[in-house]
């Protein structure tokens, strides 16, 4: 007895293949949608902003006159911010990762730390802003300083750096560690001389990606109250400052149409900044590709 009519199956095959073809096209179109959006986004920002991207734009502070508005304070401010965020978040992140990967045994405390990190990764950035406002700006009285914003951002990207560093450290094969122990090296010597050098490209790549998130984050800065009318450059960690996304936010909200173009120019600077950081990450990734 036959249930499957192969003749009928063959007849229907064509239809099924056409459906397959149609869906393939739909899936492709959906994928291209993302590319299209990115294209439109870049096109608009470049076409609007490029006219304002003059040398003066980099030399001027903000201004109420669109033509005179510049990004100097914000750009330098963002660089200052990174100078706090990078060391703080990398030291904390890598330290935590080393602890979890090399020292932590499977006990309750360490499980709690692990679980806590994965939860922290999901906390919205605006909530980190509230933390920064309450603890750094107010309780520790750091004000709207580079340091307060830097600490806030560091905590924000900490989980990303930890997870990235953990992966990089885990990727160092056990046998080179054993080789080092076998030579009589202590644990810390092994970590410093063997594990970290091998893991560092991975750590740096992850860290740069995390830092580029910190460069673009706006909400925490708004919440901790970073000002925008700033006509000076910070000269120490307790200086007030402004940052790229804050400046862009301010411009974007202004009603005069010309400020939209200024805003686009600001976005371009921000995107170029990010692009440079990511290129460095990719460069490091390719240059120090794992050798074992």
């Amino acid at each position: 007895m036959r249930y499957v009519n192969h003749e009928a199956v063959v007849k229907k095959m064509n239809k099924r293949l056409i459906v397959n073809g149609i869906f393939k096209a739909i899936f492709l179109a959906a994928t291209l949608f993302a590319l299209l959006v990115l294209g439109v986004l870049f096109y608009r920002i470049i076409s609007q902003g490029v006219g304002y991207l003059t040398p003066e734009f980099f030399q001027n502070f903000g201004s109420r006159v669109p033509e005179k508005a510049g990004i100097k304070a914000a750009l330098v401010g963002s660089i200052w911010l990174m100078c706090v965020v990078a060391p703080v978040s990398i030291i904390l992140g890598v330290g935590t990762a080393i602890y979890l990967e090399e020292y932590a045994t499977k006990n309750k405390l360490n499980n709690f730390i692990r679980m806590n990190i994965s939860n922290l990764a999901g906390v919205p950035s605006v909530v980190f802003g509230l933390l920064g406002l309450t603890i750094f700006v107010r309780a520790l009285a750091l004000g709207n300083s580079v340091l307060a914003a830097g600490f806030t951002m560091s905590l924000l990207i900490l989980p990303v750096i930890i997870v990235g560093s953990q992966e990089a450290i885990r990727a160092v094969p056990q046998d080179v560690r054993e080789a080092s122990y076998g030579m009589g090296a202590t644990k810390w010597q092994t970590i410093i001389n063997i594990v970290l050098p091998s893991a560092i490209p991975g750590i740096i790549t992850g860290a740069i990606l995390a830092l580029s998130r910190a460069v673009g984050e706006t909400a925490p800065l708004v919440v901790i109250g970073i000002p925008v009318i700033v006509h000076f450059l910070p000269d120490n960690l307790l200086s007030q400052f402004t940052a790229l996304p804050m400046q862009i936010y301010d411009w974007a909200k202004r009603p005069q149409e010309a400020f939209q173009y200024v805003s686009s120019a600001g976005i371009l600077v921000l995107m170029i900044f990010l692009l440079l950081m990511n290129s460095v990450a990719i460069f490091i990734r390719n240059k120090f590709q794992k050798r074992y």
Binding site: G62, R64, I229, H231, Q240, K253, P255
Partner: protein
């Protein structure tokens, strides 16, 4: 906006020469250093922004930051002692005075300019030209109903009114609330924002919208916004300075800590610069300057606090 631009250019030239003069003869002034921080009214902010911008060219090493938290928000910080001066679009309230006293902060009030609080609609709105204070009350006081233009004037369209108002922390809000609404509640449907730019954007995009904010913001966006006459009087320099545009014209202030003035040479210098230039800046950004005597009075008060 064109005329406005040319004034801005003028100011720029003037300060340009001043700057040259300053660096030319008085060395000590040019080498001033220090930090000055203020906060407060968003209505005053354009004047402040202009002052800060120009002042930065004169005294490169003095760091002036001016936050824009609204008059009330500014006073909070001023009371907390985190700022040296606080901008306000209304006179200081008694509660605020009391709190300042409690905090041991002596202060001095300076007038910077005059502002006409302007009621605006979109350029696309072709029905509203002139309203009465009564009309404004009808529109803006919360009474539990959904307001339509036709409720105010039967000839106006049967469309819902969309409201835009400065946030409650702002002096502009307080002022409007006091003189128009008699401290009743503002319609709940209103979009409130501390950021006047948001209001401008909201109103200009919707022909059923109405909003109010400082005269300067109106001037800067004349091409997309239409100022509504109040009881037949249009807001402009003359009507505001003369007080004819009533009840919606008002002075703008800054409040400075006396102690900080005495201790912080940079603050003193900035305030001196501000009073010297406030009139020009006010005009440049669309407000109305005070009579010169007011500024001179201010400067002599300041001198006494050095």
């Amino acid at each position: 906006a064109c005329g406005d631009d040319s004034t801005a250019d003028e100011v720029e030239n003037e300060t340009g020469t001043e700057e040259a003069a300053a660096t030319g003869d008085t060395q000590d002034e040019a080498t001033l250093e220090g930090q000055v921080s203020g906060d407060g009214s968003s209505t005053v902010a354009p004047i402040m922004e202009a002052l800060v911008e120009e002042y930065a060219a004169v005294q490169e090493k003095v760091k002036v930051t001016v936050g824009v938290s609204g008059t009330g928000g500014g006073f909070e910080k001023f009371i907390a002692g985190t700022t040296d001066f606080s901008n306000a679009s209304r006179p200081i309230k008694d509660e605020e005075k009391a709190e300042l006293e409690a905090a041991g902060i002596d202060y001095t009030e300076f007038k910077l300019a005059n502002d006409g609080l302007t009621v605006v609609v979109s350029k696309d709105n072709d029905w509203v030209e002139d309203v009465t204070v009564e009309d404004l009350k009808k529109m803006w006081i919360e009474d539990g109903t959904t307001k339509k233009w036709s409720d105010i004037n039967a000839e106006w369209p049967d469309e819902e009114i969309i409201f835009y108002s400065p946030g409650t922390d702002s002096g502009t809000y307080d002022y409007f609330d006091e003189v128009i609404l008699d401290e009743a509640d503002l319609v709940k449907a209103a979009t409130l924002s501390e950021d006047d730019n948001v209001l401008v954007q909201g109103v200009q995009a919707d022909k059923n919208a109405i909003g109010f904010f400082g005269y300067a913001y109106y001037l800067a966006n004349q091409d997309t916004l239409k100022a509504v006459k109040i009881e037949g009087v249009e807001p402009n320099n003359e009507t505001i300075e003369s007080g004819e545009y009533s009840p919606l014209s008002r002075p703008l202030f800054t409040y400075v800590s006396n102690k900080a003035l005495a201790e912080n040479a940079a603050l003193y210098d900035f305030m001196e610069y501000s009073l010297e230039n406030a009139g020009d800046m006010a005009e440049a950004v669309g407000y109305v300057r005070l009579p010169d005597t007011e500024y001179e009075k201010g400067l002599s008060t300041l001198e006494a606090l050095k």
